[in-house]
Amino acid sequence: MDTLIRLDDVTKRYDNGGRPALDGVRLEIAAGEAVAVMGPSGSGKSTLLNLVAGLDRPTRGTVTVAGQRIDDLGETGVARFRRQQIGMIFQFFNLLDDLTVADNVLLPAQLAGVPRATARARADELLAALRIAQHASAYPARLSGGERQRVAIARALVNRPALLLADEPTGALDTETGEQIGDVLLDLNRSGQTLLLVTHNPDLAARYAARTVQLVDGKIASDVVNGARR
């Protein structure tokens, strides 16, 4: 399988003299893989996710996604790359409260200049697939946690990105809802979507990821294939 994500000797420091958030990390993720990144608080999980998403830059080392060195791109370049190639899902959904569900989903497509009709059709398709089409005109504040996360997933997928990044996607949900969201992610991965999942929950990692990378103090402590995934 082609390598979709490559981190070469990546180090990230937030202040001089302190321990680096990531320290010499080397990681490769192939296209179509589902990888969970685990570790205790402060291990560097979110930092790693931010670097892959281009939300931050490494202090040292290179980050390559879909063949593009994103640590080399300017802010405009990385924004354009992100909206085309990367979809992001967050623990607390990060939806825009003054836009409707449909508008939230359409936003990345509109920013990318996708024609109205095409974007609208894609959004409708995603809303239907995620079983939230009936909420298209509603505002996020009126939805349940699970519904909001589905909206976030739809938004993340509207531009058909090569990579889906999920930062604690079930962290703010109850167990049953969390499992439903997990199933959505599993289905996406089975249909070929590359998934990088950050979580502190080993059950989640085992259930929805084929591989688990363990981070401790900014370094990769282990990188194992999960045999127990459904």
Binding site: R83, D103, L107, Y139
Partner: protein, 800 residues
């Protein structure tokens, strides 16, 4: 315990200041500029209410300027008058002399001109206990042969010019230009120079300056002058000049200017107050979440108020102090220009204005901080935190839906919808931009109208060139030619007319010309004599803009200015009686024109009105020709060519606008810019507050792929819509203000205005002015928009 609590408040305030560096800087900057603008605005308004009085006090003006015969009263006797009862201060004696200045004519003329006599006073220095002169250009005389001219002397000579006194040897070089609040002299030289300038046989005179305890009225000053005359030998006091006469002349001269200065001053004050309230109040309101956190750890409502008052007052105090300094620094050149406009020596910002503005701004900032802090202090911690998050749910939803349907880039429609989520803040921002845009619209119209007025007074556009006959009966415009002693006498008037008209017809740049005679005649119902201008032919193009009625078309008709109608109580269609020689000539008023000559009391008529009177004891001949040029012809080049054709340039004069109008336009420009900057700062603050509130949303936008340029566009659009609306409203409001202020200014100058002086806003100008609000909004938003675009996405996403 109390110290510990006070320490906690101080630490919390310090922490807030450090954490919100941009906010702190914006508060300080806004208070600084608002204070500076207020000091300037209030200073201008105060100085406009009585500029002469302000300048009189500052320059230690003298209540009475006396010219005395120093042959009849000794210097000791004159100095002793300073101790007379009622005299509070005196200065002098200063030697004085009256000379007839001889000025060089234009190049090639080979002659000199005798200007009207001027009075020179010998003073060793410009300063003194009374009549402190203001040196505006150059320096004070340091040696014989140097002169400082008064700005009001009428000679209008630049530094370096040379003047000779008729009948006296040597010359005087102009080394400085000064002004006297008392207009005590036309020029000043060293005291030792006076004797050399005095013509043999002329009695020696001296100038004394006095201040009295009772000098508030003409009667009081007359009494003071009588005491003075009795204290000196008989006949010693030759003449006295009262400061009240100078004040009357100055006040009536500046009366038209005061309304526009007051308008700008009031707008400036209102705008400054609005911006400070917006900025400071918004800063506290933006800290609601932090207030909630402080309350959750045990801060009492009183401590919350103290924390936020302290957090605001420190930058506000610094801004106030710096703003007073800024206002006074800006005031120096601006009030110098205003002093020129007002024709007083100097104007300063009164000390009480500095104190009042500083105290007012501090109180305003304090109140603007305390009010929302008290409100927040009363909320529970949870409520305060919840209120401090994004705007209340439900606001702006409809706007987002509607604007989202527009076929505009998505960042633009999102930005345009944002103001609807914060209606109160949007209203304040709208008001600030509106005031700034109204100022721009008003100023543009005012400048255009004043341009019309300048040309209406000077006729520089319609008759840029005037050609004078070398002598003419009753023609005030004729030049006395004093050439070299070997020069021949001027030709007879008829020959001059033929020669001038032939030259004008032959000159390629001539479009048309008309001869005129200027006489002083009696007009029934008016005291003294009235200037009457008689034209040979159609003169409707000579620059007298019609206000109402029509231009005269034949003898027996006349056009008059507004004040003529006001003073005489006449109207268009009424008849006046002009006395020409021994004939009473009825003349019907057919039109009202814009003319400020002789305070708007003169008569324009056809020369046949007077020539057809029958018995003509005075032969009426033209005194000058008014010439209009073809488009594109340079008046200077034309005058040179005409001078060559006539054999001399002596008789040709070029009309130009009074430099006073240029100064006025400069003043308008600076005031407008200052107010637009204050409005822009209000916008900047709004956008900074909004950016801070929506930092998490900004992170989301950037996370889903919004580029920096799209971010800037969105943030700018947060206020662009408001700017467009403000601009659209500002145009009619600014035009209305212009329509109101201009006639008020005109009435203060005892004239109406022609419609063309008011209708200065064309469709193109209006369309551009409508963009003023947008320009102010975008200019104020650009910096914070750039900051927003540069915000680290990861940090923004972590913000709550």
């Amino acid at each position: 315990m109390r110290r510990w609590r006070a320490g906690a408040v101080a630490r919390a305030a310090r922490g807030g200041l450090a954490r919100r560096r941009v906010q702190t800087l914006v508060i300080g900057l806004v208070v600084l500029i608002s204070t500076g603008a207020s000091v300037l605005a209030l200073g201008l308004v105060v100085d406009s209410s009585s500029p002469f009085d302000s300048a009189f006090a500052a320059q230690h003006g003298a209540h009475l300027v006396a010219t005395v015969n120093s042959g009849r009263a000794t210097a000791a006797q004159l100095r002793a008058t300073g101790r007379l009862p009622g005299v509070t201060a005196s200065s002098g004696p200063f030697p004085e002399v009256t000379i007839t200045p001889m000025l060089k004519g234009p190049p090639g003329s080979g002659g000199e001109f005798a200007a009207p006599p001027i009075t020179l006073v010998g003073r060793a220095a410009p300063g003194g206990p009374l009549d402190d002169l203001t040196l505006e250009q150059g320096r004070w005389p340091q040696r014989p042969g140097e002169i400082v001219l008064s700005r009001d002397s009428g000679l209008g000579l630049p530094l370096g010019s040379r003047i000779t006194a008729r009948g006296r040897p040597g010359s005087l070089t102009v080394v400085g230009i000064a002004s006297s609040i008392d207009q005590s002299a036309d020029g000043w030289v060293l005291p030792s120079e006076i004797a050399a300038l005095r013509a043999p046989g002329t009695p020696a005179t001296a100038q004394m300056l006095y201040r009295f305890s009772s000098a508030g009225s003409a009667a009081a000053l007359n009494a003071d002058a009588a005491v003075l005359a009795r204290a000196l030998p008989p006949g010693a006091v030759l003449a006295t000049q009262s400061y009240l006469a100078v004040k009357l002349q100055q006040d009536s001269g500046i009366a038209p200017i005061v309304p526009f200065v007051v308008a700008f001053g009031v707008i400036g004050l209102v705008l400054s107050v609005l911006i400070v309230v917006n900025v400071v109040g918004g800063a506290v309101a933006a800290g609601y979440r932090r207030i909630g956190v402080l309350k959750s750890i045990g801060f009492t409502p009183g401590q919350v108020v103290a924390t936020y008052a302290g957090q605001v007052m420190l930058p506000a105090l610094l801004g106030c102090v710096a703003g007073v300094v800024l206002g006074n620094v800006l005031a120096v050149p601006l009030l110098a220009k205003t002093a020129t406009v007002y024709r007083v020596g100097t104007l300063l910002v009164p000390g009480w204005v500095d104190a009042a503005v500083a105290a007012g701004m501090c109180c305003l900032a304090g109140l603007a901080a305390v009010a929302p802090a008290v409100r927040a202090g009363r909320l529970s911690a949870a409520q305060a935190i919840a209120t401090g998050r994004a705007p209340a749910q439900g606001r702006g939803y409809a706007a987002h839906r509607l604007l989202g349907r527009l076929r505009l880039p998505r960042p633009v429609t999102i930005g345009l919808a944002a103001p609807f989520a914060r209606p109160a803040r949007t209203a304040v921002t709208l008001a600030a931009i509106l005031l700034g845009a109204i100022t721009v619209t008003f100023a543009a119209g005012l400048a255009a109208s004043l341009n019309h007025v300048a040309y209406g007074i000077s006729h520089a556009r319609s008759e840029p060139v005037q050609v004078y006959l070398e002598s003419g009966s009753g023609s005030g415009g004729a030049i006395k030619h004093i050439g070299p002693s070997t020069a021949p006498p001027p030709p007879p008037p008829a020959a001059q007319e033929r020669a001038i008209e032939a030259a004008l017809r032959a000159q390629p740049g001539t479009l048309r010309y008309v001869a005129e005679a200027d006489l002083d005649l009696n007009v029934a119902g008016l005291p003294g004599q009235v200037p009457v201008t008689a034209f040979w032919g159609n003169a409707s193009w000579t620059g007298y803009e019609l206000i109402s009625g029509r231009w005269f078309t034949g003898p027996g008709q006349a056009d008059v200015p507004t004040n003529f109608l006001t003073v005489t109580g006449k109207a268009i269609g009424d008849t006046i009686t002009v006395t020409f020689g021994d004939k009473q000539i009825p003349v019907r008023i057919v039109g009202e024109v814009f003319d400020t000559n002789n305070r708007g009391i003169d008569v324009l008529t056809d020369q046949q009105t007077l020539a057809a009177a029958g018995n003509r004891p005075i032969h009426l001949i033209p005194g000058l020709y008014d010439v209009q040029l073809r488009p594109g012809i340079s008046p200077t080049a034309y005058a040179a060519g005409l001078g060559t054709a006539l054999g001399s340039g002596d008789q040709i004069s070029l009309n130009g606008n009074d430099p006073f109008f240029l100064t006025l336009l400069g003043l308008i420009g600076v005031l407008t810019l200052l107010l637009a900057v204050v409005a822009g700062l209000g916008v900047l603050n709004t956008v900074v507050l909004h950016t801070r509130e929506r930092v998490h949303d900004l992170g989301i936008f950037k996370a889903v792929g919004m580029t920096p340029r799209q971010t800037i566009a969105m943030v700018v659009c947060w206020v662009a819509g408001t700017g467009l609306v403000a601009g659209a409203v500002a145009v009619p409001a600014g035009v209305a203000l212009h329509r109101y202020v201009l006639p008020v200014m005109a009435h203060a100058a005892a004239t109406n205005l022609p419609a063309s002086y008011l209708e200065v806003y064309g469709p193109v100008e209006l369309a551009l002015l409508a963009l003023a609000g947008l320009v102010i909004a975008v200019a104020g938003a650009m910096l914070p928009a750039s900051w927003a675009a540069g915000t680290r996405t990861a940090s923004a996403l972590r913000a709550e």
